[in-house]
Every structure is written in C-alpha cells, then in structure tokens.
C-alpha cells in the first residue's frame, strides 16, 4: 500500500511538471490559435541560457554569491526569451496570419528546429547543471501511518508547488483581465479580432513572452532535476498528450491532464510494464491521448470543436 502511494505521489509530482510545460502550449493556443510545437525547444533553450549564464556571470562580473548569479542569470534568460518571442512574431507569425492550423504547426516545427540548433551553437551541447538551491535529498513522511514512511522527493514537491502557483496566476489572468479576454478573442478568430481593433502583433508578442517565461521556469525546474540536456525536448513532447487530455484551451485542463498522465505513466510502468517488456512510458501518454482523440477530441475541459458547413 505504501509503495503504491509512493508511486502515486511520484506520478503526481511528475505530472505537475508536465503541466508546467503544457501550460506554455495552452497559453499560446488560447491566445493565437497556434499550436506551438517549438515549446519543447523553448524549454531547452531557456534552460541552456539559464545554466550557461549562471556559469559565466561569476567569471564575467566577478560576482561570488551564487544566489545573485542565479538571479542575474534568470533575468538575462528572461530577456533572451522576450527577444525570442519578439523575433518569432516579427519574422514568422506576422507572415502567416490566417493560414490554416496545419501550416502554422509546420512553421512552429521549423522554429523548433531552428531554436534547437541555435541553442546548441550558442550555448553548447554538453550536459549542464542548474543549481537554484533546490533540496536534493528525499524525505520520509507519514512515518506513523505507514510503516517505514513514504519516500518523497523534496525537489519534486517544491517544483509542484511552483507549478501550481504559476498555473493559478495564469488562470486568473485569462479569466479576469481585459488582456486575457482580448487574448481569447484572438485565439478565436484572427481577422475578427483585428477588425475590432485588437493589436494582433502586440498581443502575440505578449503571449509568446509569457510562454517564454513559463518555458524558462519549466526549464529551470526540469533542468535542476535532470540536468540540462537534449532529452528535455523529449520531455516536452510528452506534454503534448497532456494538452489533448486536458483540452487545448483550458488552463485547469493542463493541470488535471498533467496529473493524470504523470500518475498513469508511473502506475502503468510499475504494474503493467513488466508484463509487456517494460519501457511503456514512451507511448503510454500518447496512446491515452489517442483514445481521447477518438472519443472526446476536445479533452476533458476544452471547447467542443465545431465544423462549419
């Protein structure tokens, strides 16, 4: 029983981290109707920036205090992500207004490759460390209820907390603010939003900036846990099923979807895996998404997709 709970909790925490990445997808989709295949590349790029700058700053500026170095690195990385957002809007999105979804998707695929290559060229392709002071040791909890207690990873716990806070903030932003409403209008219909005076280009830059920050936070958390390396992109690919489950337009959906996928992956790997040869993590999330696509494509919380005649 205790073991099952451990697996469950581990899954929930991983799920929260998936949600973080999925949030980026949902944001951009909600605001521009663009499915950003480059989100994973952005996470890696942001993490690389953070890692390398926190390494370089002590050398360049003679800052000894690692906390200050980290903060400076964070700011620089954030600025870089803003620049990336602005460039993407300027060079790509602006020219593809009102193209259909598949074209935009393929364009973001191109952007993903570009950012990928750029990151490796500018920042290097080794494995890098991010150290933001996250506690690494696991901790035993609930020792009086379960014999031996449950082993919980403190780092995952904090990550989950950060993710939850970020998600709550974003949910509020979309629902309660005027900019949030404008973003939803843009996601619905580019031309219509333009014609009522919503500054499309500015909105898109804002959204991609926010998505960039989300990517940075996700990159820091995942990078701190796994080390900053290419496999982060694979992690991001795992976030796609999350948005399918949760619904592409739903911020709470990103959380719930992430939790379900996180738990599902861990539980199925532990209990089903040995029966079929192991390693089913790589497709479990996708197969679950496939089932949803067949029976409920809009996900748990998304808006129904209507086809006009």
């Amino acid at each position: 029983m205790a073991f099952f709970l451990e697996v469950l909790i581990g899954g929930l925490m991983t799920g929260m981290l998936y949600s973080l990445v999925a949030l980026g997808f949902v944001l951009i989709f909600k605001a521009s109707g663009v499915f950003n295949f480059a989100q994973g590349a952005m996470v890696l790029f942001a993490a690389l920036a953070m890692a390398r700058f926190s390494e370089w700053i002590p050398g360049w500026l003679g800052v000894a205090n690692p906390v200050v170095a980290n903060i400076l690195a964070f700011i620089i990385a954030a600025l870089i992500m803003f620049a990336v957002a602005w460039l993407i809007e300027r060079l790509v999105l602006r020219h593809l207004v009102n193209q259909e979804g598949a074209t935009l998707l393929m364009a973001t695929l191109g952007i993903a490759y570009f950012i990928d290559g750029l990151g490796q060229t500018v920042f290097g392709s080794d494995i890098y460390k991010i150290d933001v002071g996250m506690p690494k040791e696991p901790v035993m909890v609930l020792e009086n209820i379960f014999a031996g207690g449950l082993l919980i990873n403190k780092e995952d716990f904090i990550a989950a907390l950060v993710a939850a806070l970020l998600v709550a903030a974003l949910a509020l932003f979309f629902q309660k603010t005027a900019t949030g409403r404008a973003l939803r209008a843009v996601a619905d219909d580019h031309q219509a939003a333009q014609s009522i005076g919503i500054p499309l280009n500015r909105i898109w830059v804002i959204v991609w900036c926010v998505a960039g920050i989300v990517a940075l936070v996700a990159g820091i958390i995942w990078g701190s846990k796994l080390g900053v390396q290419f496999s982060l992109v694979t992690v991001a690919l795992r976030a796609l099923p999350v948005v399918i489950l949760g619904g592409l337009t739903s911020v709470p959906g990103a959380i719930i979807g992430g939790l379900i996928i996180g738990v599902g992956e861990k539980v199925s790997e532990v209990y089903l895996g040995p029966l079929v040869g192991g390693g089913i993590e790589i497709w479990f999330a996708y197969m679950l998404a496939l089932v949803f696509l067949l029976f409920r494509p809009q996900g748990l919380f998304g808006e129904k997709i209507i086809d006009r005649v």
């Binding site: 598949a102 191109g110 390693g279 497709w283 996708y286």
Partner: protein, 358 residues
C-alpha cells in the same frame, strides 16, 4: 521558345490525359531515365552511390508516400518513420521465417503489412484533423519505436531490436555492389513513381484532393471521407513500408529501431514541404535537397569559417544544419508554400516565352 507546345494539338482525350503531354517533356524524361540507368553507373564512384544516390532514391520513395497523404489528401502525419519501420521489420520477418521468400516478395509483403497498420492508425483521421491528427500519428511513432525494441518476436529475439539481412538477390542476379543496389532502387522508384502518378491523376487522386480542399463538399458529391482518408493512409503506408524495407535491406544492411525514429518522420515531412506538397516532382526535389544539403554544408561551412578565421567543428556543422533546416521550413511556408515544385513550374512557364518577354 524551344519549350513551346505550339502546334502540339491533341485530337483525343487519351492524348490529352498523358502524363507528359508536351513533346519536349517526353524527350526530357527519356533523357533523364537514360542518364540515370546507363550513364550514372558508368561514372559514379562508390561514395556517390552510398552517400547520395541510394539514400536519395529510397527517401524519394518515402517522400512520395508522405506526399500522397499530406500533400494530396491533406492529412498531416508525424509518424511516417513508424510505417517505414513496420515495412522493414515485416519484410525481415518474411525473409527469416518463410523459406525461399524472394526479395521483392518480402518487400511487397512488408509494404502490405505497413498498409494494414496504416489503415488502423489512420482511423483517428475520421474524427480529428490538423494538430490533433498530428498527435495521433505521433502515437503510432512512439508505439512502434517501443514495439520493435521490446517485443522480441518482431526481431527474431534480438536483444536490442537490431537485425540484419544479407545476400540479397533478384531472380538470381546478386544485389551486392553499389551499382547493383543503385539500379535496383532506381527501378523500384520508377515503377512506384508511375503508380503514384496514375493514382493521383485518377479517380482516387481526385477524391483525395477533394477531401483535402473541402471535405464537407466532397461528401455532398458522393465521396465517402472514410474511404478516401483510409485509402490515402493505406497507399501512403504501402509506399513507406517498401521504402523502409529498401532502407534496411539495401542501404543499411543491418538496422535498429532508431533508423526510423521521430527524426526520420520530421525529415520526410520537411522533404515534402520544401519539395512541394501535392506534387510528384516535389517529392524528388525535396529528397534531393535534404540529402544533399548536409553534404553541401559540410564542405561550405568550414570553408566559410576558414575565410573569416573561425574553425567550425563537425558538431558545429550539424548544429548549423539543424538551424538551416528550421529556417528553410519557415522560409518556404511563408514565401512559397508549394515548395520547389512551384518554383520549377513557374520557371517552366517563363521558359515557354523565353527569350520573348510576353
């Protein structure tokens, strides 16, 4: 002025429906085929065959398959690699488990297996489209990645999913030397290109394009979306399966699942986007482009770097390659969504008038 169809009147619908209605085109194609079958083997060296020509031929076939599905039928797929894998491993199983199975038989059976799998994984296209469909095709990619790695039966109990074949022969003729391999792949490509052209100019091709352009209207004139979409998946996967078999058997000799990974799927998609969606020629252009670009960059970038005094490592070149691919995709989508094929046909239009301005 040389390239004018003036005076070439068609007096029957059959003449009008030819693949190459313009006489100059017919001569050009005969010339190209003669060159490919006769001249190239005389002059090409082993490197040219192994590194450029054979991959180009096989990936053209695969790109053709992807183009039929994405370009003609409008169904996006990110899982093309999986169907190549199914074709390759199925062909392998047929060779290994069935005594005396001929090479062509195994490849075709691999193709049919891939077609069947393609139909199954194409079912989501009946419910969703666009990016949702893309995610569904990714499920195919990851599932088969895992299956060929972990399910021992598929790989005849090999531990890492890697398998190999050898001693290929066609009706007693060996297919061992680069020249023999090249001619075999060329022959397969020519046949399949003809099949693809016939399909796209026939009733099923029109069904696919109708579904691509406006699937609701297509239903109204009596096209069943289910039949059109699933047949597109089937035919596309058939082409991919045969290409996969060729890739594994003829090009690699021995392979593991990573040969058909997500990167391969993206590579194929890039080929058809850059080459030209909805165009047979486009598949060839795209394949040529993607095969030649890395080699070209490998020469160009260090040289450029040398000019400015910067040494660029091989890793640097491969990173640059990735960046350039990405940039090119975006460039083509913005500037010429119909790819090189459109640039080519625009050039031909201009050629009809040249040297006159209008």
């Amino acid at each position: 002025m040389i390239y004018r169809e003036n005076g070439q009147f068609k007096t029957s619908y059959a003449a009008d429906q030819q693949i190459f209605p313009i006489l100059q085109d017919r001569w050009a194609i005969l010339g190209i085929l003669a060159f490919a079958f006769v001249a190239v083997p005389l002059f090409a060296d082993e490197y040219l065959f192994r590194a450029i020509l054979i991959p180009f031929l096989i990936l053209s076939l695969a790109a053709l398959g992807v183009n039929l599905l994405v370009g003609y039928c409008g169904q996006i797929t990110l899982g093309a690699g999986a169907f190549m894998a199914v074709g390759a491993y199925a062909a392998f199983n047929f060779i290994v488990r069935v005594d005396g199975m001929p090479l062509v038989g195994a490849l075709l059976l691999g193709g049919f297996t891939a077609a069947a799998v393609g139909v199954v994984f194409g079912v989501p296209s009946l419910r969703v489209r666009g990016l949702y469909l893309a995610v569904a095709t990714l499920a195919a990619q990851f599932f088969w990645d895992w299956a060929f790695l972990r399910i021992k039966w598929f790989t005849n109990d090999s531990s890492s999913g890697s398998v190999s074949v050898s001693n290929l022969s066609l009706f007693g003729f060996p297919i061992e030397s680069p020249t023999e391999k090249y001619l075999f792949c060329l022959a397969v490509l020519v046949v399949f290109a003809l099949l693809a052209k016939n399909l796209t100019r026939g009733a099923i091709g029109r069904q696919w394009m109708a579904i691509r352009d406006m699937d609701v209207a297509a239903e109204v004139i009596g096209i069943r979306p289910m039949y059109a979409k699933l047949s597109a998946f089937a035919v596309s996967s058939f082409f991919l399966g045969v290409a996969g078999g060729l890739w594994g058997f003829v090009h690699l000799g021995s392979w593991e699942p990573a040969a058909f990974s997500l990167d391969r799927s993206f590579q194929l998609l890039f080929m058809v986007i850059i080459g030209g969606l909805g165009s047979i020629m486009g598949s060839f252009f795209g394949a040529a482009f993607i095969v030649i670009l890395p080699i070209f960059l490998n020469q160009l970038l260090p040289w450029l770097g040398g000019l400015v005094g910067v040494t660029i490592s091989t890793a640097g070149v491969s990173h640059a390659e990735i960046m350039i691919f990405g940039a090119l995709i975006v460039f083509f989508l913005i500037v010429e969504p119909h790819g090189i094929a459109r640039l080519w046909s625009t050039a031909k239009e201009k050629l009809r008038l040249w040297p006159f301005p209008h």
